[in-house]
Amino acid sequence: MSATLTRLAALGATSFRQALRDKVLHVLVGFGGLMVVGSLIISELTVGERARIVMDLGMTATSLLANFVAVFVTVGQVAREIERRTIVVVATKPVARWEILVGRFAGMGATLALMVAVMTVLHALMLLAVEGYRATLWHAALLTFTESLLVCSIALFLSSFATPLPSMFLTLGFVVIGHTSWGLLMLADSVQSAAAKTCLRVLHALLPNLSLLDVRQPVTWGEPIGIDVVGLGVAYGLGYSMVLLILGAGLFSRRDLA
């Protein structure tokens, strides 16, 4: 293993360990687990829609949980560590600044993968109990994981230059915008000015489009999910994350860690 990979593995493993020992993660996972299990009880209140309710609530719980962990734990690991100066010890080692960000991303990626996998297994068990299990659940899980990676990279990018609170709120803002950015295209279609149309379309292209990673509705309704949809979503999420990491690394390497 090259020296760079050794350092990335060390940083990633520490980030993973830190996340697993973070009380915020414990609370969020507990809440998510309760939501998935609770979906079974809530579904009792419906007539003939049990499987759909369990499917919908379970995927929503996993998605919410993954995004919250990606925001709160990532900001805690970078922006807060810069503020508390815990990062100083790592930054003075023979480690490039970009390696610190990528190591954190790898550690958070492992944490999110584990968490989404555990939640999806739990969800699958609930679905088996109501005879509503579908294999497309795993497609949705993969896209949810990709979405959380993208959110994590937004949090890392913002943490590379901003303090914890703005990083947290801005990342949450980007999550909301990312799920509603399709509205910009609708707006572009309705405005008359060509300049405004172009601006809105450029803005739509620049902002994260998280609706590409959301297949909850078709999965809930039992529609097939093509491999092209999953492939496009994963490629988009990873590509967008990579661009943010490169930009974040550039900013972080210029930052004074006083």
Partner: protein, 310 residues
């Protein structure tokens, strides 16, 4: 011999959000550190010691001047391969155990494989944390946290060790152990530079001293050079057979009284000569005349006072 660390005319201004907020932390700092040398960096709070270390370790970018670690700028990753750094008032990842934290530092320094476990264990033993190695850092006392900080700084067997206030939080025994460790590191060939407010620590182990004030170097040199340049110090004179009531007529300070002996302090050698003559004239006999060794504290205080009066 090539300098491990060369700092030339270093300047640093911290810019705030507004131009009015800017603060000049370093005006002109130049210093060098060679293999096996121990340098003490002294100065009052806000004199620029920590900022100098932050620039040298690549944490902050200087506004001017030049820094070379092993001939390379400190922001280059390769320059920090042989650097061990303990930051001032450091907070460490408290979710890790001491062993995990030092292990992380070792892997980042390229210490891996079979050697790593042995090295980590040896370093923790060396700083006196072997027993507490499996405890989370959040359960450590301030002194223990300081020791684990020193352990992470030296686990990569660095050739240049920078310790920002390493004695903070340590009891007298801990301080002595850290001093011994610094001397051992230098004996093994590392160059060590550390800051402290405890001048006795500097006197006991440093080869050279750099005094900073208001972001520039007031004075630097070997301990002997600094002390030799100082004015002659006070002299203690021990007399026998002198009535204590007559001390007031002598230009001396009564320090102690034991039986028929009195210990007086004269301001300098000339005053001591006058004192001895006068005491003999009063029928007293001189038991001992001892010049009081000049201490670094006197030199530092005088330099700072001179600097302020300019």
């Amino acid at each position: 011999m090539q300098a491990l660390l060369a700092v030339d005319s270093l300047k640093k201004t911290f810019r705030g959000n507004w131009l009015l907020d800017s603060k000049v932390a370093l005006r002109d700092v130049s210093l060098e550190l060679k293999e096996g040398e121990i340098v003490g960096l002294l100065g009052p709070n806000g004199s620029g010691k920590s900022t100098t270390f932050k620039c040298v370790s690549g944490l902050v970018r200087p506004s001017g001047g030049r820094i070379e670690l092993f001939g390379l700028p400190p922001r280059r990753r390769a320059a920090r391969e042989q650097l061990g750094f303990l930051p001032e008032d450091a907070t460490f990842p408290d979710f890790l155990t001491g062993e995990e934290f030092v292990g992380l530092a070792a892997r980042l320094c390229g210490v891996a494989g079979k050697d790593a476990a042995g090295r980590i264990s040896k370093v923790l033993d060396r700083v006196g944390l072997h027993e507490a190695r499996r405890r989370r850092i959040r359960t450590y006392s301030k002194g223990m946290a300081q020791r684990v900080g020193i352990a992470q700084a030296i686990v990569g067997a660095p050739k240049l060790v920078i310790l920002d206030e390493p004695m903070t939080g340590l009891d007298p025994i801990g301080r002595r152990e850290v001093r011994d460790l610094i001397v051992e590191l230098a004996r093994e060939g590392a160059g060590v530079i550390f800051s402290t407010h405890v001048l006795q620590d500097v006197e006991l182990c440093c080869d050279r001293v750099v005094i900073l004030s208001d972001g520039h170097v007031l004075r630097q040199g070997t301990l002997a050079e600094l002390l030799a340049g100082a004015e002659a110090g006070p002299v203690e004179v021990t007399l026998r057979g002198l009535d204590v009531g007559r001390v007031a007529s002598l230009k001396a300070q009564l320090l102690a009284r034991a039986g028929d002996q009195l210990v007086l302090r004269a301001a300098g050698p000339a005053e001591a000569d006058v004192l001895v003559e006068a005491a003999r004239a009063m029928g007293a006999s001189v038991v001992a005349v001892n010049p009081v060794a000049r201490r670094l504290e006197d030199v530092v205080l005088r330099e700072l006072a001179t600097s302020e009066s300019r």
